[in-house]
């Protein structure tokens, strides 16, 4: 049961992460257009956020600070809600910037914090499962990492398809973003419960 809850958290977070990354392009275009620079900025900032979160979570796994996960997920959800309401006001500062800087700055504002928060989920959960479940289930570190990262990414593909081709055309960008934020807050609640049970 513990493993299943961990997998549900990964599915919710993975779904939200990739959908948010793809939908970010819709938030960029009114301010910085829709060019190669936008996608380069989205991919770069997403990866920077993920790299930082992987590096931080590596330390937290070694120190067994599992309790950070729920807070990170809830902060990500709340930050996305903040962007729903205030991004247009904040991004007007990019108008005086050169295009490449504007694209990178927009990514910094929209992506860095929420994706860092979401990015710690997979390493922390795979570390947590290796620490707590490997003897019971006879799985290795590589095995757990494969399942967790695979599941999260697969959920991302599914959720992005739904966001892009169903939710966004029907209910618009902002409402879809609010759904993603809700998923993160729910997964934060679940992980709070999971860590509390097994502490």
């Amino acid at each position: 049961m513990t493993k299943i809850i961990a997998y549900i958290i990964v599915v919710l977070e993975g779904g939200a992460l990739l959908s948010y990354e793809i939908m970010a392009s819709k938030m960029y275009t009114p301010h910085v257009g829709a060019t190669l620079y936008v996608w380069t900025s989205i991919l770069t900032l997403t990866l920077i956020a993920l790299a930082l979160s992987y590096r931080l979570s590596q330390k937290w796994v070694e120190q067994q600070k599992w309790y950070i996960l729920p807070y990170a997920l809830i902060i990500s959800g709340l930050y996305i809600l903040l962007m729903v309401f205030f991004r247009n006001e904040i991004l007007t500062v990019t108008y005086s910037m050169e295009l490449v800087s504007a694209a990178l700055f927009t990514g910094l504002i929209l992506l860095l914090i929420p994706i860092m928060g979401m990015g710690i989920t997979s390493p922390i959960l795979s570390g947590w499962l290796t620490e707590n479940q490997s003897k019971e289930s006879n799985n290795s570190a590589g095995n757990f990492a494969g399942i967790i990262y695979g599941l999260g990414t697969l959920a991302g593909v599914g959720m992005t398809l739904i966001s892009l081709f169903v939710a966004m055309p029907q209910i618009g960008v902002n409402n879809t973003l609010m759904i993603l934020a809700s998923l993160l807050i729910i997964s934060g609640g679940l992980s709070f419960n999971l860590m509390k049970k097994n502490s």
Partner: protein
């Protein structure tokens, strides 16, 4: 493998996945288009490949690590090589009757399968390093930093400066170097020999993998791959005094001119001439014009005709290569002030007023929606002088399903508070003509145009003069 080697492999693996994720969609954009949906589909194909790769790597992590690592990298190399071959072959010949099939074949062989294989290596590397610590985060962190470095290099350096084909050649070389490194200390002769063959092939591809072909009639002036995809300028001699030049962006014609005696320029398409006629609304009074989207620069060239008009012209173009093509092959006048920026961004920040704004923006086959939204049109309104007007060049479809976007634009213009007239160009059939939307804040008196709108019909020059404003 040592810890340092494992982390270096993770770095390269992450980097190469991102290189493919940026390059392949650009390779395919001439066929699949450049819309957000196309990008999203291809990114999903890549991310789907990552997901499958992680699962596969998780399973393989229970078995021998190094042989599996070698096999995965070799499969990735073979698949990418196949994609590269299809790409170079498709540049000159048609592989299938439907080129969309070729595009998806390239997407699977050049993006999906290599991504699956490269992603599978990550759990293997984690397994290899896990004797030393619980290091999933460390390996993914290195992989991700590789992705960051290669995304920046690919997006801002490789594609704009080297182009797409050379970026793919670079990918093949780096991948073959990884294969050689995996087998470096191996005593398995077959694997070692295969790795050297891969390296040799990648260098052969670098040396012989770039070819262009000219036909007897059509001369290639320049081909360049850059920010907006593939730019192509070609020339065809009609006779000793007349030649035709065409600018293609992602194989879509953007500008088509006839050059007479090496200097006099006429547009084969009628819309630039019609826009010049519309621009004569302000007569020879000193006026200002903003042209959003340069292409070959034929519209600003016509507007810069001081014998009939008196405009100072700003032209906004995102891609500096297009500006260079316009100057080198399409006679772009020095009198035109070219601003390198995204049109919407320029409008957002602009504080100047114009008497005429021409929106002639196509990203391949698509008029970008963020420049034609209600919000963007508010900025356009703000940039117009009270007697100014806007001309939007749009595709010729107005009826049926194909005309939905034009009808949407009509409604959006009306919702923005513009008075709108529609002037289709005179080519035959919706597919061949353009629709010019003329939008103004005050009614336009069409009798004020000093240059008549002329067109050919049945080999006779005819004149078209709208009698009244057809605003709705």
């Amino acid at each position: 493998m040592t810890r340092r080697q494992i982390l270096m492999f993770a770095f390269l693996e992450g980097g190469l996945v991102m290189l493919l994720e940026l390059v392949i969609p650009h390779v395919l954009s001439p066929v699949l288009g450049n819309s957000m949906e196309t990008w999203a589909k291809l990114i999903l194909l890549s991310v789907g490949g990552l997901a499958i790769g992680y699962f596969l790597g998780g399973i393989l992590a229970k078995k021998q690590v190094l042989p599996n690592l070698f096999n995965l990298l070799l499969i990735s190399f073979v698949s990418s090589l196949l994609a590269f071959s299809i790409i170079t072959y498709s540049n000159q010949n048609q592989l299938f009757s439907n080129e969309v099939i070729s595009a998806y074949l390239i997407a699977f062989t050049g993006l999906f399968f290599p991504t699956v294989c490269l992603a599978s290596t990550t759990p293997l590397l984690i397994q290899e390093i896990s004797d030393q610590s619980n290091s999933a985060g460390l390996v993914f962190s290195n992989s991700t930093w590789g992705g960051i470095v290669f995304t920046l290099l690919t997006g801002f350096m490789f594609i704009p400066n080297l182009g797409l084909v050379k970026s793919l050649q670079l990918f093949l070389i780096l991948l073959s170097v990884m294969i050689v490194l995996v087998t470096w200390k191996s005593d398995q002769k077959v694997r070692k020999n295969l790795s050297y063959i891969a390296l040799l092939i990648s260098f052969l591809v670098l040396i012989f993998g770039n070819t262009t072909q000219e036909t007897r009639d059509v001369q290639l002036l320049q081909m360049k791959e850059g920010l907006n995809g593939q730019l192509l300028a070609v020339e065809r001699k009609v006779n000793d005094t007349i030649s035709e030049r065409t600018l293609f962006i992602n194989r879509m014609g953007q500008t088509w001119i006839r050059v007479i005696n090496g200097s006099t320029v006429a547009s084969v398409w009628s819309y630039p001439g019609i826009i010049k006629s519309l621009a004569s609304y302000h007569g020879k009074n000193p006026s200002s014009a903003l042209v959003l989207g340069l292409g070959g620069g034929i519209v600003p060239l016509f507007l810069a005709d001081k014998s009939q008009l008196n405009y100072t012209i700003d032209a906004v173009e995102l891609d500096k290569d297009i500006v260079k093509f316009a100057q080198d092959y399409f006679f772009l006048s020095d009198a035109v002030n070219v601003i390198e920026d995204d049109a919407r961004r320029y409008l957002n920040a602009n504080e100047q007023k114009y008497d005429l704004i021409v929106m002639d923006i196509f990203n391949g086959e698509i008029a970008p929606s963020h420049v034609l939204s209600l919000e963007a049109l508010e900025h356009v309104k703000r940039a117009l002088n009270p007697n100014g007007f806007v001309v939007i060049n749009f595709n010729g479809h107005i009826t049926g399903e194909a005309g939905i976007s034009a009808r949407s634009l009509w409604k959006t213009l009306l919702s923005s508070g513009f008075q709108v007239s529609l002037l289709p160009t005179f080519e035959k059939g919706e597919r061949n003509k353009n629709n010019l939307f003329i939008a103004s804040l005050k009614p336009i008196d069409f009798s004020k145009f000093t240059i008549p709108i002329t067109y050919f019909e049945e080999n006779k020059m005819k004149e078209y003069r709208p009698e009244k404003n057809e605003s709705q």
